[in-house]
C-alpha cells in the first residue's frame, strides 16, 4: 500500500517539479505578491500582476543562467 502511495506521490511531484529551486522560487514569488496584496491593497490592484510577472521572468533567467554556469564549470573540470 505504501508503495502505491509513494508511486502516486512521485508521479504528482514529478508532474509539477523538475528543478526544486525553480519551484521554490515560483512559490516565493507568489508569497511576495500575496504580501504586497496584504500590505498595499490599492496599489496591488494595478501593480500586483506586473510584479509577479517580473519576478517570474527574473526567476527563469536566473535559474537558467545558474544551470548554464554549472554545466560550464563541470565541463571545465573534465
Amino acid at each position: 500500500m505504501s508503495k502505491t502511495f509513494s508511486a502516486i506521490w512521485e508521479n504528482a511531484y514529478g508532474l509539477l517539479v523538475d528543478d526544486g529551486s525553480l519551484a521554490l522560487g515560483a512559490l516565493a514569488a507568489v508569497a511576495i505578491t500575496w504580501l504586497f496584496a496584504v500590505i498595499a491593497t490599492a496599489a496591488f490592484e494595478q501593480l500586483g500582476g506586473g510584479l509577479l510577472l517580473v519576478m517570474i521572468c527574473v526567476l527563469v533567467l536566473a535559474n537558467l543562467y545558474t544551470a548554464g554556469r554549472r554545466i560550464r564549470h563541470t565541463r571545465s573540470l573534465e
Binding site: D18, D19, A23, E45, G48, G49, L52, L53, A67, I71
Partner: protein
C-alpha cells in the same frame, strides 16, 4: 461560446493536449504492433474511463463548489509550477543541452523491450493492457490537469477546454489510425515550448487575479503576458547558446 473564451481556453487546451496524446499514442502503437491490438485498446479505454471520472468529479466540483478566487490562486500556483517545469525543459532542449524528444526513438525502444518480453498464446495479454493503461493514464492525467487549468475561468471556459482536448484526441488518434506509425512529423518540441509558455502565462494570470489584481483588458492581457514570457524564453535560449556554444555535446545530466 465567444471568441475570447475560445482563444484563451479551447485553443491552448487543444495544443497542449495534442502533445500528450501524441506521446500516449506512441506507446499504444508500440504495444499494438508488437503484441496485438485487443489488450492495448482495452487498456487505453480503461484509462480514458478513469480520466473521464477524474475530470468529471474534480473539474466540475472545482468550478461549481470552490470560490472563484481560491480556485484561481490554487490553479494559478499549480500552473506556474507545471508551466515553469515544461518551459525550463523546452529552453534547455532548444539550447541543445537536453536531447530533443524523439517519438521515433521512443517507439523503437518500446518495441524492442516488448518483443524481448515475449507473448504467450491463448492468454490475455496483461502486460500489453497494463503498459497501455499506464501510459494513457499518465499522459491523460496531464491532459486532465491542462483541461482543469484552462477551464478554471468558469463553466464556459471549462466546456471550451474540454472540447479543445477532445478535438486534440480525435485529431491525434485519427492520424494514428490513418498512418499506423508514431506521429514523428508533429513539431512536438516546438509545441512543448509554446505550451510551457502558455501554462506559465495562465499561472501568472490566475495567481495574480486570485490575489486581487485587475489585469488591463482582462483576459486579453494574456496575449501580452505570453509575448513577454516568450521573449524571456527566447532570450534564455540565446544566453545559454552564448554560454555553452557546444550545446548538446556537453552531455549535462543534472541541470
Amino acid at each position: 461560446m465567444d471568441v475570447v473564451t475560445l482563444a484563451v481556453a479551447a485553443t491552448p487546451s487543444f495544443i497542449a493536449s495534442s502533445v500528450e496524446f501524441v506521446e500516449a499514442l506512441t506507446i499504444v502503437l508500440a504495444v499494438g504492433t508488437t503484441r496485438g491490438w485487443r489488450a492495448p485498446l482495452v487498456g487505453a479505454a480503461l484509462a480514458a474511463l478513469t480520466l473521464a471520472v477524474i475530470v468529471a468529479v474534480i473539474g466540475v466540483a472545482l468550478v461549481t463548489v470552490v470560490p472563484r478566487h481560491v480556485l484561481q490562486i490554487v490553479v494559478g500556483i499549480l500552473l506556474l509550477l507545471f508551466g515553469l517545469r515544461w518551459l525550463r525543459k523546452a529552453i534547455l532542449r532548444h539550447a541543445g543541452i537536453v536531447a530533443l524528444h524523439d517519438e521515433e526513438l521512443i517507439y523503437q525502444r518500446e518495441v524492442a523491450e516488448l518483443r524481448a518480453q515475449g507473448l504467450r498464446k491463448n492468454e490475455w495479454d496483461w502486460v500489453g493492457t497494463v503498459i497501455s493503461y499506464k501510459s494513457v493514464l499518465l499522459e491523460g492525467l496531464e491532459v486532465a490537469f491542462i483541461v482543469i487549468a484552462f477551464g478554471a475561468g468558469g463553466a464556459s471556459a471549462m466546456s471550451a477546454a474540454i472540447w479543445g482536448a477532445i478535438a486534440a484526441g480525435v485529431v491525434v488518434i485519427g492520424l494514428g489510425i490513418a498512418l499506423k506509425q508514431p506521429l514523428t512529423q508533429v513539431p512536438e518540441n516546438t509545441m512543448k515550448f509554446g505550451v510551457g509558455a502558455m501554462l506559465t502565462t495562465f499561472g501568472v494570470f490566475w495567481s495574480a487575479e486570485g490575489l486581487g489584481t485587475e489585469w488591463p483588458g482582462d483576459a486579453l492581457s494574456l496575449f501580452g503576458i505570453l509575448a513577454i514570457i516568450l521573449a524571456i524564453s527566447w532570450g534564455s535560449v540565446r544566453m545559454l547558446n552564448a554560454m555553452l556554444p557546444s550545446g548538446a555535446q556537453v552531455g549535462a545530466r543534472n541541470v
